[in-house]
Symmetry: C2
Subunit: 564 residues, 2 copies
């Protein structure tokens, strides 16, 4: 046995699918991989098995998609690789978040019970469920009025995507669901519960999504009481105060889960972690000064620091939140690749689709080709990348997108390029905020889904940020991250590693691509960025609240229509 290779399994539960990898612990090589598309995907219109229409801004998921992902992917890894289950020294998972679900005491999701299946609030609310914006605003106001110290760790604002706005939404709009729920839990912890039979709460989700910190714990009962008397004991009634650190063992694989996965019962299972954070050590980032920039549907920015700085508009600043021993800062852009997805679905003319088909390239490739032929500023367009709201640094889900500079000569590829540019302006805004706050950024490593398919985005990013861009390229990078955390959870004795830093060093690697900025384009982008900043500040800081007023009016009108 000692001569045989050792592996960990990482399973990444994403927005549309789960990806699992079997990874060689020695060097991070992926020995096998499997993907499971969630049959229900993101539920935004009709509640499954019913005719119940969801309000705008809702986004739910189906819990059986999660367990089916385990049952489908892990056995496939084992079958393909033909390794012995004993060679798997640990299993790790990561999950989107805050993805929140109410369950019974034994972990059964309320949404699977007949009594609650027609109640939208009983279903897992996906991270991008944005209907609790009013709750988030009230929470922010309340915390600010009470001078709550935790607020500073979250850039002064509570995001609608987080744990407590979603809980409060359940309490207020479906109190029976709230009362029926013995537990309310992050999906990241729920999936570990399914694997181990034991309920744990991971430090990453608690710190970044549930206002918890190592030094102060959760907010006080008086705070929850101020939200609503009925929520006073939400921590003790629905959650857990004991928080499990990262890169450690949460439990062992249960008999039931061993059957689903074809692994050995007793295999160590790592603490749950959020997906973005799991990616960080997989992108070689395990020490201060390096920025891991995850470019996917949304963008996430992670950086580590020994000292604690107050950075405005952060999503979170959590001690031990990514790598034990360091402060993990997270910033984010709520819409990144999403903008491109929206554009391709809604705004590409037929002639372009025909051209792409004729040339046997994808429409993305065609748009990239046409947009690459343009010079910066040639279109006269500038956009605000707020199609999905603004996460950092404004932390305002009610902001919306804008394009300025249209003329009768404006071409689709110009709009496409303006959207790419806008997302990189948003990134630069975040970089500048970090640096101004005392957190240096010496190196940028990009990863996520976009870098492999969107070369133009990286070129623009280098020119807009005026920095070299390095690439951590793997279609399974987040799952690799989960496998790295699993290797640390297994520990040196079992053939894993003593620390996460060590696991990252051995198991993570960069591609040999480096994108270097171009002097001319840098200058032009400085000018475009100053236009972006003017618009960003005008619409983002309330000089003109048009976006919010229009969104409120829209909500009122859709509400009225529904009541008809």
């Amino acid at each position: 046995m000692s001569g045989m290779k050792k592996y960990t399994i990482g399973i990444d539960f994403g927005t549309e699918s789960a990806r699992a990898v079997l990874v060689d612990v020695k060097n991070g090589d992926v020995a096998a991989s499997a993907v499971y598309q969630y049959p229900h995907g993101v539920i935004t219109e009709i509640l499954p098995g019913s005719k119940i229409e969801l309000d705008p801004d809702w986004a739910l998921q189906h819990p059986t998609d999660y367990t089916n992902a385990l049952k489908r992917t892990v056995p496939k890894l084992m079958k393909e690789s033909q390794i012995d289950p004993s060679q798997v020294i640990a299993v790790g998972t990561d999950f989107t978040g805050s993805t929140v679900m109410p369950t019974t005491a034994d972990g059964t999701p309320l949404s699977l019970l007949e009594d609650y299946q027609n109640e939208p609030h009983a279903w897992p609310k996906l991270w991008k469920h944005h209907a609790a914006q009013d709750k988030a605003d009230q929470l922010t106001q309340l915390a600010s009025d009470r001078f709550e110290t935790f607020l500073d760790r979250y850039g002064g604002r509570i995001n609608a995507e987080w744990f407590f706005p979603k809980i409060w939404e359940i309490y207020d709009e479906a109190s029976s669901v709230y009362h029926a729920a013995d537990r309310i839990i992050e999906a990241a912890d729920w999936i570990v519960w399914q694997l181990t039979g034991q309920e744990t709460r991971n430090l990453c989700s608690a710190g970044y999504k549930a206002l918890w910190s190592k030094s102060e714990g959760f907010p006080l009962e008086t705070f929850f009481n101020a939200m609503n008397q009925g929520l006073t004991n939400v921590i003790d009634e629905k959650m857990k105060r004991e928080i499990t650190p990262l890169g450690q063992q949460a439990g062992e694989l249960s008999e039931a889960a061993a059957k689903w996965t074809k692994l050995n019962p007793g295999t160590p299972v790592a603490t749950g972690i959020l997906d973005g954070h799991a990616t960080v050590p997989a992108a070689t980032v395990a020490e201060p000064g390096k920025m891991a920039l995850i470019l996917g549907t949304s963008y996430v920015h992670m950086i580590l620091s020994k000292k604690e700085y107050r950075v405005p508009g952060m999503c979170g600043m959590v001690e031990d939140g990514i790598i034990p021993g360091l402060i993990g800062y997270e910033a984010g852009q709520a819409g990144g690749g999403d903008h491109i997805g929206w554009f391709v679905k809604n705004a590409v003319p037929e002639a372009y689709e025909k051209e792409a088909r004729k040339r046997k390239i994808s429409i993305f490739q065609l748009m990239e080709e046409k947009a690459s032929a343009l010079n910066p500023a040639e279109s006269g367009l500038v956009a605000l990348d707020w199609w999905n709201g603004n996460r950092s640094i404004l932390a305002d889900g009610d902001l919306t997108g804008l394009i300025l500079g249209y003329s009768l000569a404006t071409k689709p590829e110009e709009i496409y390029r303006a959207l790419l540019e806008a997302t990189t302006f948003g990134t630069r805004k975040i970089f500048e905020t970090f640096i101004a706050s005392g957190v240096p950024i010496n190196e940028i490593i990009v990863t996520g889904g976009e870098p492999a398919k969107n070369k133009l985005l990286l070129t623009i990013l280098a020119n807009v940020t005026r920095m070299e861009i390095k690439v951590a390229e793997s279609p399974y990078i987040t799952a690799l991250g989960a496998a790295i955390y699993a290797a640390a959870a297994a520990g040196e004795q079992r053939g894993g590693y003593e620390t996460l830093q060590e696991a990252s060093k051995k198991m993570a690697s960069l591609s040999n691509k480096t994108i270097v900025p171009n002097n001319n384009d840098k200058k032009t982008y400085n000018r475009l960025y100053s236009e972006y900043t003017l618009l960003h500040d005008y619409f983002g800081y309330g000089h003109n609240n048009a976006m919010k007023r229009l969104k409120n009016l829209r909500t009122a009108i859709l509400e009225k229509q529904r009541r008809k």
Copy 2:
């Protein structure tokens, strides 16, 4: 002969084509019609017969397209109707403007001479040629610095589309063309010259496009001298001081033109007139208080008044400029239907095209159907209708379009509707400016190309302006206008009319459609309009000059590229 019906012919020279009608003088019935598409259309990229690329914002035309239009359409009218040429009591023409051409002393366009055919400035500059914006800005500044009284008649700004910015552009950028030109003339007058062999200058073009007024004439030589010493005598050297009133005879059909048209030599030819203005009496508007709103590629707003008021941001206010005896006010929106044309060409996804084909409807019809199903404000979008700059009330061709409120759920029909709405907000802004300045609007009559095909636009217009909308519907309304002016030019003796009012009363009519505003939508649109106004004022009055800076940067970059 006295028992035979009497006719006039009206020929409307538009942007893409010319339309001619043979009209029964008694009741305005159209006895025959003909359309001629200009083979060269609008020349924006390459100068015909060369490889010379045009700068952005250029728009030229080919003069032989104009004469060929005469040769093709009028004989067709005569052939189809089988009437005797003697039954045609007069011919009238109308033209886009300011469409300006340099010619030799006998009227030969310089662009047709070998020496000048490769010189873009020698070609007819179409109304929508926008490259002289800097000249327009300088003219405005100069007129303002010198307290020129004429400036007030044009809303305080000289538009880049007018006569003198285009002339100055020729002088500055192609002085050899300027010096070679014996005459510089509006196409509206050039075409009359082709018909009669006599050069005249019509009051409408002079008043609305060349800073002339009945009481003050042209600007003084000192003004032109201040522009450039070489331009001091531009009026006496290149133009005419004698201005011919509207609805009168400019001359008689020459032998040559009689051959082209198959009409009798000596047939009266009416003074030239601009196309928008010719439409006014054809839309039953020949007295104060009625607004003729011409909805086409661009929108034009014409209203008459006995008294002279100063209205900010007008395109022009001209005594006798539309109907002799009244002040004719003209306002305009540089982009109207243009926005829809742009959208349909550049932003409709393939799935929509397929649906339209499957259902055998046009893509316009499909978009109208989908957009009509939406409620006002349901999209959360608001737009500024400045794809082609802003004519009234900001008179600034360097402004560009904007859409605000995009989300990942934004659908193409929502953008389509937002564009329609934006154009009607622009219209309301103009109405409010008229009313606030003392010019009442008691009745709105819409006409032009859009009303027949765009019912949704009219519904939105009624709700946004909170007024009933009446419709003057004829595919040949502008040409009918030219025929009405011809009937007045012919005079009562020849079987026409003594006054334009009388000719309009007999020859023009309304459809029986009336669009009535809806109370709910009116209220919602008041809220959207207030958002439009905030954005209009912020970007339009220089609080944020992003649009201009981006346009300048764009121009500089395209310039640099061309030099490579």
